[in-house]
Symmetry: C2
Subunit: 121 residues, 2 copies
DNA sequence: TCCTCGTTTGAGTATTTGTTCAAATGTTAA
DNA sequence: TTAACATTTGAACAAATACTCAAACGAGGA
């Protein structure tokens, strides 16, 4: 005779606390928002990009200024800026041959400020 | 006689706008803070971890609940939770053999809320 | 003591990522 | 038109990542 319930309620593939899972599912974000949220945070989750965004917080700059500031190739900066531009975190303005980049709005700054406040406490 | 100034003010390795670079340098974060900031955002920059953190926002959960919710192996969840635990974004509580994970505090929730508000507008 | 189950750990792996180099683009001035 | 310069693009590559599988660990209960 099998002792108690041998294979029911086991963790593998089954749910230990259905009500908790239900609660979490109810609060869960739609997949598209999860993706965009992760994309946004990932974009801010690189030291070079943090420095770029921080620098742009103090005013617009061109690619080679940023390269000099961060200490990498202009090509590297350009690649990073393309990513940030695709996500609309930065925008640019052309003046002759030089492109001046700026933060699109203050959302990024506010996120960084909140995060800084967090890790400083 | 060379036309104008042939090689001064060129971008490669030199600074196009020293005053902008100086301004940015003055506002720059110390390297340690840049690193921690990037680490924090990177930790939040993955769809699975976004979902985990969001789920924990509605109450504590054990590993296999999270695995069932997210749809990956418990091993995968455990690996992610270790990352989040190392960065003190989550903490756990043991009850018999099961570990209940929770958000360490509401900072993560506030960051996610702000980011959501951002990308929803 | 065994055995079970939840969790963790480590190896292995396919994918992504951040950078540099070299070459192409595009704008301006001679 | 030609030359110069800021920027972009694409290839290449090393390093980091996120997952699965298999095995180990640890806490209870028979």
């Amino acid at each position: 005779m099998p002792t108690a319930a041998p294979f029911t309620d086991q963790c593998q593939g089954r749910t230990l606390h259905p009500e908790r899972i239900g609660r979490a599912e109810a609060a869960a974000l739609p997949p598209a928002e999860v993706a965009r949220l992760a994309q946004l945070f990932k974009a801010m989750g690189d030291p070079s990009r943090v420095r770029i965004l921080r620098a742009l917080g103090s005013g617009e700059m061109c690619v080679c200024d940023l390269a000099a500031l961060i200490g990498v190739t202009e090509s590297a900066i350009s690649h990073q800026l393309r990513l940030l531009r695709t996500l609309r975190l930065v925008a640019n303005r052309r003046e002759g041959p030089v492109l001046y980049y700026r933060l699109t709005d203050d959302h990024v700054g506010r996120l960084m400020a909140l995060a800084l406040e967090y890790l400083r406490e």
